[in-house]
């Protein structure tokens, strides 16, 4: 019984913590972010396994985690609100070359993040070449460039 309860507690706790931390926290993987993730994994493992090394425990933990994952994905299908709470919503941060400052500030992004995405994805040079920049639910920034007809 404890195997299932522990696994469920860990899943829910991590889900809540990462939602609170925000999308940008884990979006761009610097070396430090990677190390932080490893440490989190270690801390989680200790709590999940405890001192029980049986195969049965391993199977119960994994089935519980995957099971909850599947359950949540089914719930997300049924309820738009639940979907938004779990996944978040996309956010327009640049519109027609105009930077939406307070949104970017609240989302903890600066203009340089947007310009970097513009360079990486579309090879754009300046912010006025951006038609839309969107902070996606995954934390990535996607760029829609101005087409020639938009000028």
């Amino acid at each position: 019984m404890d195997a299932v309860l522990r696994a469920a507690a860990v899943y829910i706790f991590l889900l809540v913590v990462f939602r609170i931390a925000g999308e940008r926290t884990m979006a761009s993987m610097t070396t430090f972010d990677f190390v932080l993730l490893l440490i989190i994994a270690e801390a989680t493992q200790q709590a999940l396994i405890g001192d029980d090394f049986s195969l049965t425990k391993m199977m119960l933990v994994i089935v519980t985690l995957i099971g909850i994952d599947i359950g949540i994905s089914l719930l997300k299908d049924r309820s738009r609100l639940f979907h938004k709470v779990i996944e978040g919503v996309p956010l327009i941060i640049v519109e027609d070359g105009r930077v939406l400052d307070d949104r970017m500030r609240r989302a903890r992004i600066d203009l340089e993040d947007v310009l970097q995405a513009a360079r990486e994805r579309q090879g754009l040079e300046r912010v006025d070449q951006i038609k839309y920049a969107v902070l996606e639910r995954t934390g990535e920034i996607s760029i829609i460039p101005n087409t020639r007809s938009d000028r």
């Binding site: 019984m1 195997a3 299932v4 195969l55 119960l60 099971g67």
Partner: protein, 158 residues
């Protein structure tokens, strides 16, 4: 039916059967989680068991897991002290004893039995914390000196 000009190794019929299989699998997951919560894999209401007989009460877990700590509680209703209880060798060879509370005064080996002596007042309660070293079915026997033996059965998951 969707006809596409795509050069693709698609097989929608197969995919539909995979989806059905997955959904059946999900029911197994749910079943597994529920039976685990009930205690069929150790811990939980279904697993707790007790057995009584001839002045000896044993509380134990019906289901336990390989190398995971489990507890056995003996309640000895004895008149004389120190209290003496005999435990089957075969069971205790299959487990690793982590702790005995209270510590026994003496342990003696006699053929197929281990004879434990405890000091105490009134009803003596002894807790053994053990880690099974084998999996499968395990039967343990305990008896007070000269009394009928009391048996308990456990299933140890791997």
């Amino acid at each position: 039916m969707i006809r596409s000009q795509l050069e693709i190794d698609a097989d929608v019929h197969f995919q539909r059967r995979v989806w059905t299989g997955q959904r059946i699998g999900w029911f197994f997951f749910a079943g597994l989680i529920i039976t685990a919560l009930l205690g069929f894999f150790g811990g939980g209401p279904v697993s707790r068991a007790s057995v009584q007989g001839s002045g000896l009460g044993i509380e134990y877990e019906r289901f336990a897991r390989f190398q995971k700590s489990t507890q056995i509680r003996l309640a000895l209703a004895v008149a004389g002290h120190p209290a003496q209880v005999e435990l089957s060798r075969r069971y205790f060879d299959a487990v690793q004893i982590e702790q005995i509370t209270p510590e026994p005064l003496a342990v003696e080996s006699a053929n197929e039995w281990l004879i434990y002596q405890f000091s105490g007042r009134g009803n003596v309660l002894v807790t053994f914390r053990l880690r099974p070293q084998r999996f499968g079915s395990l039967t343990g026997t305990a008896r007070l000196a000269g009394a009928q033996p009391v048996q308990f059965r456990q299933f140890i998951y791997p």
